[in-house]
Amino acid sequence: MYNSYGGLTDSYAPFPVHVVIDQTGVIRYLSGQNDTDAVRSTIQDLLDEAR
C-alpha cells in the first residue's frame, strides 16, 4: 500500500506519509511532510462539508 502512492515528491524521506481520505474513500490529502496545519484544515473542511 505504502509504495502505491503517487505524488510524494515533496519529501526526500520515506516518512512521514500522511493521507486524508474522505467519506467516500477518495484521497483528499497526500503529503510526505509533517504539516499538521494542512492535515487539520483538510479534515475540518471534510467534516464541514458533511454537515
Partner: protein, 505 residues
Amino acid sequence: MRPSLPTTRVLTVRLASIGIASLYLAGCSGLDCPAGAHAEDDGLCYLDDGTTGTDGGSTTDGGTTASDAGTTSSLGFELGDPITTLGTDTDGFFELVDAEMINDDYALTVGQGGFAVSSMVDGSLVVQGDGDRGYDVAVDGDRAWVATRYSKLYELDLSVPTAPTIIDSIELGDPTHQDVALDNGLMLVGWLDQGAVIIDTNTLNQIGRLDVESARGVALQGDRALVGDEVGGQPQLVLFDVTVADSAVELDRVNLSGPAYDIAWENDNVATAEGGVGAGVFTVVDDHLESRGQLSLPGTVLSVALDGDYLWLAAWEVAALAWVGDGDPVVLGHELPTESAMGITARNGRAMVADWFHTTALQANPGLAGPELVMDSTVYFEKGQTDSERMEAWNAGAMDLELSLEVASGDYSVSESAITLAPGDRKTLLISPTSGAGAGALTWSSNDPDEPSGTVQFQTATTSVGTQHPDFEMSGFTWPDSSLSNFRLTDFEGEVVFLAYWAEY
C-alpha cells in the same frame, strides 16, 4: 456493537525508520519612486508613513510581506538574489536539527548521534563527536549545552572550537526537552506539558521554575526570559523578569498564530518560529511585547536566528532571509537547502543551516531582494481525466513576480500564459486536459535572479489526491478500546480517515 467514535478516524502505521525533506522556490522589480516613498495601484508615489503598503500588509496568505515593492525600494533594496550558498557538507549519519554559532569561523550543530562543528567559510565539516541524540543546543561563550531526546542535557567545552569535548551532564525531567537557552550563568530548559525551569550553570542546581503550562521555544537575555507557552490550545509568547530566579515575574503575554518552536532574541528584536503559519516578529519595549507582523513562507518554520536587521529562518523546505529593520518585516528571499532546513544560526551576515544530513553555510547579500515563486513541480491527474486541476502560484518574496507559462508537451491547456503577482499575492491557475489526461509538462520563466525558469510535470497516478484509495486490511491491529480488530478501510465508509505512516528514530 461499535462504540460511539468520532467521525474522523486516525490510523497510524508505525514502520521502520527515519525521514524528512523539502521543496521550493523564488524571483524581482522596482518602481521609480524616490527614497521614502512607494508606488500604489494608481501609479502615483506616496510617502511611506510606517504603515503597510497597497495590500494593507495582508494578502490571501494572511499577511506576508507587509509592504509591496515600493517599500523595499524605499529601503534601498535592489533586485537581486539576497542569499548565496557558500557550501555544504555531508556527514551521512547525523540527522542534524539545530545549530548555534561558536564564533565567526565555526558553528555547532546537533542531531541524532551527537554533534558536529562546521566551517562558516564553506559549510565543511570540521569534526564530529558522539553524544546522546541532540534536539537543541545553546552556546554562551566557550560553553554549550545540548538538550537531548532523553532526560539528559550535556555540556560541551568549546574553548578549542575544532575539538569540542563533553565535560558534564545533568539528568533533568522526562524526555524530550523542547528547547534550551543560555545566558550569563543561567540555563533555561523547556518541555511540553512540564513548563520551564532555570538552572544555575555553575552549580547545575535548579533555581527557579516559570509559571507556564507547556514550554516549547525558550530564550534568555540578561535577567529577562521568553517562553513559548500554550494555554487552552492557544499558543502564546510570555516575557518574564528572572532577576530572582525562584520568584520570576510575568511581565507580558501575547497570543501567537502558531506554536513557538523556536525563539530568537537580539537586543529589542524577537522572532518566533511558528511552524506552518510562518514566523512572528516582535519588539520588546519597556518590558512589553509589541507585534511587528507575521511572515509567511513555504514550508514549516522550525528555527529562527537574528543577525542585526536581518532574520534567518529554517522552514524545512527552504531557508529564508527577512528584513526586520526599519519599516515592516519582509521576506527578502529563499534558498533551497541541500536536504531539509531544520535549524539555523547566524552572525555577521552568514548563517549555518542544520540541513538534516548536511551542514550548509549561507551568505546574505545586503541590499538585495527578489520575488519568490512557490508553485508545485508536479500536477497529478487520474488517467483519462477530463476535468481541470488547480495549481497555485504564490509570490512569497519582496518584489513583483512576473511569470510566463507555456504547455511544452501533452494535450493540456493552462488558464493564463502570463501573470504578475505582487509580494504576498497568490493566483490559482487551471490545468485542463484537452483529450483525457496523460503525460505532459509545462515550462515557466520568471524574473527570478537565481531561478529564471522551470518545468511542471503532469502525471497520472493510480493512488494520488483525487483517486479512490484502495481498500486494505489492518490485520494485527486492534482499536485502542479493543472494539475493533483486523478492520478494513471500507469499514469506515461515511467517515473521514486520517492515515499516518511514521517511524520512531
